[in-house]
Amino acid sequence: MNILKKHNKNTGFKTPLIILVCTLLCACDALLQSKTDPNGIIYCSEGSPSNFNPQLDTSGTTVDASSHQIYDRLIDFDPVTGDIVPALATSWLVSDDGKTYTFQLRQEVSFHQTQTFTPTRFFNADDVLFSINRWRLVDHPYHDISGGRYTYTDSLNLRGLISQVKRINGYRIEITLHNPESSFLANLATDFAVILSAEYADKLISRNQKELIDYKPVGTGPYQLASFRQDRYIRYTKHPEYWREVELTDKLIFDITPSSSLRLAKLLTGECDAIALPAHSELEVIRQQENLVLDEKPGLNIGFWAFNTSKPPFNNPQVRRALGMAIDKNALIEAIYFNSAIPAKNIVPPTSWAFLADVRPLSYNPIAAIKLLREEGIPEDFSMTVWAMPVQRAYNPNAMKMAELIQAYLQVVGIQVNIISYEWSIFRERLTEGLHDSVLIGWSADNGDPDNFYRPLLSCAAIESGTNRAMWCSDEYDLLINKALQYTEISERTYFYGKANELLAEQLPLIPIAHASRYQAHRKELDGLVINPYGGVRFGGVKKH
């Protein structure tokens, strides 16, 4: 003890300590004061795109990452009015019989210059021909690249609709249809009808690197892809010669953040300037923050529970009905959407003119469900899978939790549920293979035309293209939705869609759950970001102050 006491006189710590504290304070000052980050916009997105070509993938993540950033279309939807407005086509003409469309193309539009490709010419008719023929002609050299599934155009059977795409001169093309179809122009304005570079495609053929066209994309859009790292980030740089006169920032970055609470936290700390899909439970928090802005619009979407009707016993409509009666839809909506959604009756939302109000929805009745299940020969302890999306979507912000609730509901009627989830792109691949019993998924429309719900979701052609998650094929249904397209009068089309709605309510290939509102949250400094009800997010014209 004596010895230790002697050490108390040791005061040699003080001077270095003071110096250390001073340095630390200076360092802290430098760290806290720094606002020298380079100019750019960071958008916290919800997942990794599977490629950068929306022709190949209808997933919202892929569309967000590519459609309006990297590419342009011939025509666009005005996000506010919903009208079709000129983009790469300056004007168009529809013939009297409704079969021939002539497009006049914009001049002096340049493609991106990347590390491996320097364009030598402006955009012209060849690029349009290439972009359309890639999915239209089965023997096109690029048709089978990256899987060769053109989900969107196949599900609408546009390939069968178009009889000819003709180049009239360098800046004029003509598209001829087999029969008039009232939704054709709307389809060309969707996120999926992007224009690729034919010159780049030729370069890639000569280098024997065809698959790069979808992974190292070249387009005419406001931003060009700089780099992408799976599950981490996507970097874009400004396209210096973008044809539209809009404000662009030097760098655009998608910070891939799958957890929605983390996205919100990053928005609060300013690490993101805008976030994808704010969780419905967090909307109140965003509203209360002074430096955040929350936009809201009624959504053109549907979240549903689809049964794999190619597998017994789900091929039996009565079994599907019984399962539908076993779940309490309203409770699901309250728990998952926090009342920012309305219960769905049809597959189209009430804002659509094809909506049929007097379809009687399934009522929650577990007793009747058990009875019906036994009648149809489903034994006690029957086991099935419910596949739950690993990502959030506007139409279903938390499929996992919904699956758990459904698991509890089905337990009551004596059905064991295994919940299955994979990484998003694998999840969709296996759904297309039809490995599921049932799946919680949904659909966001790309244009205002109701055909955009009916055809991709449940037509026979959509099984092949991988958007018909119910694997349901009905000739009667296909006939109805095809008839509806042959008329231009809305009242006539409504009749056929009404019949289709009745058929769906009777057959129940899927159980519509909810139509969710769309939300978008960003910081106050960000100017010009608007909700695009017809699809992906757009950063052209968005500026940070």
Partner: protein, 343 residues
């Protein structure tokens, strides 16, 4: 000397053998086909790869399979991830440095704070300073790391807005990855504003480093304190005083070195704890390290990734602990003497 070296090499080799065997057996214990778990390729894809080098000769007996497995491990063919389809060897190579970097900074920070404080506490033994340092360290030791990390985020990121809460650097900086150690990469790169990038990287480092360092610091403090007290109570210190040295001279010449020697092996034992904590903290701060990556793999039931990640991390821990142990064995005279006495 050679004897010790040989014995350690032997020990490392045996441990590594057991680890590789364990990771191989894991592929059989995980659900699904063992070949799928080993290669990361689905059976239907595998048939297309029949002729490639990436085959574990599934028809042979298990020993031959294991032999092939080891061969592939050394060749860098660790298989591919189920979920992303990327080669695991490269993935681990990208993510492991980030974890090592974070753990290293936390370890340095703990040394810089823990050692001096431990000395102060020991020199002021049974005084108020000692007691307060002890109670603070007990507090720090008892706080669960993930909770501390969340608390730091809540206060310093969300409330005060001082520090960012995720990642290694603001994504607006484009740092080419050469070594995958962010600070080194910034210093190596030349196209960007280095100062701004460094500041951004430090701002991202502070909270995660602090959350990991707290537990290690308190441990170091307590170990140091005990060791210094023991040393200062020993006879050779008394002898030094008897020779008329001042307390300062006694501490500098005899105290510090002798107090530090028994600390080091104890600290080496803290490395696994440090790495475990780092892995937890990584997933909270979205730090792109091996811990975050492994947790994602577990969540997505990505068996090849779990297997490869666990193998990489355990090999790292084994080699690190063993080499520290060996260094101490070779430098500490007392240990050497003990060895002679027994043999």
């Amino acid at each position: 000397m050679t004897n010790v070296l040989l014995r350690y090499t032997n020990l490392v080799l045996v441990t590594l053998f057991i680890l590789s065997l364990l990771s191989f057996i894991l592929a059989y214990l995980f659900p699904g086909e063992a070949v799928e778990n080993l290669t990361g390729l689905r059976l239907n894809e595998l048939t297309a790869m029949q002729n490639s080098a990436l085959m574990y000769s599934a028809d042979d007996n298990i020993f031959v399979q294991y032999w092939h497995y080891i061969g592939e491990l050394f060749a860098g063919n660790w298989g591919v991830s189920f979920s992303s389809g990327l080669p695991l060897y490269e993935d681990v190579g990208h993510y492991l440095p980030a974890s090592i970097e974070l753990s290293a900074y936390a370890l340095f920070l703990s040394f810089f704070i823990g050692l001096p404080l431990g000395f102060i506490a020991a020199l002021r033994h049974h005084k108020l300073t000692d007691y307060s340092l002890l109670s603070v360290s007990l507090l720090g030791y008892s706080i669960p790391v993930f909770w501390l990390a969340l608390l730091l985020i809540l206060v310093f990121s969300l409330q005060l807005g001082w520090f960012p809460l995720s990642g290694r650097i603001s994504l607006l900086f484009e740092i080419p990855s050469i070594t995958d150690f962010i600070i080194i990469d910034i210093l190596l790169s030349d196209s960007i504003d280095k100062q701004a990038a460094l500041i951004s990287a430090f701002r991202h480092l502070i909270l995660p480093t602090l959350s990991i360092a707290v537990v290690t610091t308190t441990l170091i403090l307590r170990i140091t304190r005990r060791s210094v007290i023991e040393t200062l109570n020993s006879e050779f210190i008394l002898a030094a005083y008897a020779r008329g040295l001042t307390p300062r001279q006694v501490l500098m010449r005899h105290g510090i070195r002798n107090a530090l020697i028994p600390i080091l092996p104890l600290l080496a034992m803290q490395f696994p704890t440090l790495l475990t904590n780092a892995m937890i903290v990584e997933s909270i701060f979205s730090w792109p390290g091996i811990g975050n990556w492994l947790i994602q793999a577990i969540y997505q039931q990505d068996y090849p990734a779990i297997r490869a990640g666990m193998l990489a991390v355990s090999v790292l821990v084994v080699i690190f602990t063993m080499s520290i142990d060996l260094t101490i064995r070779l430098t500490d005279p007392r240990r050497r003497r003990a060895e002679r006495a027994t043999t």
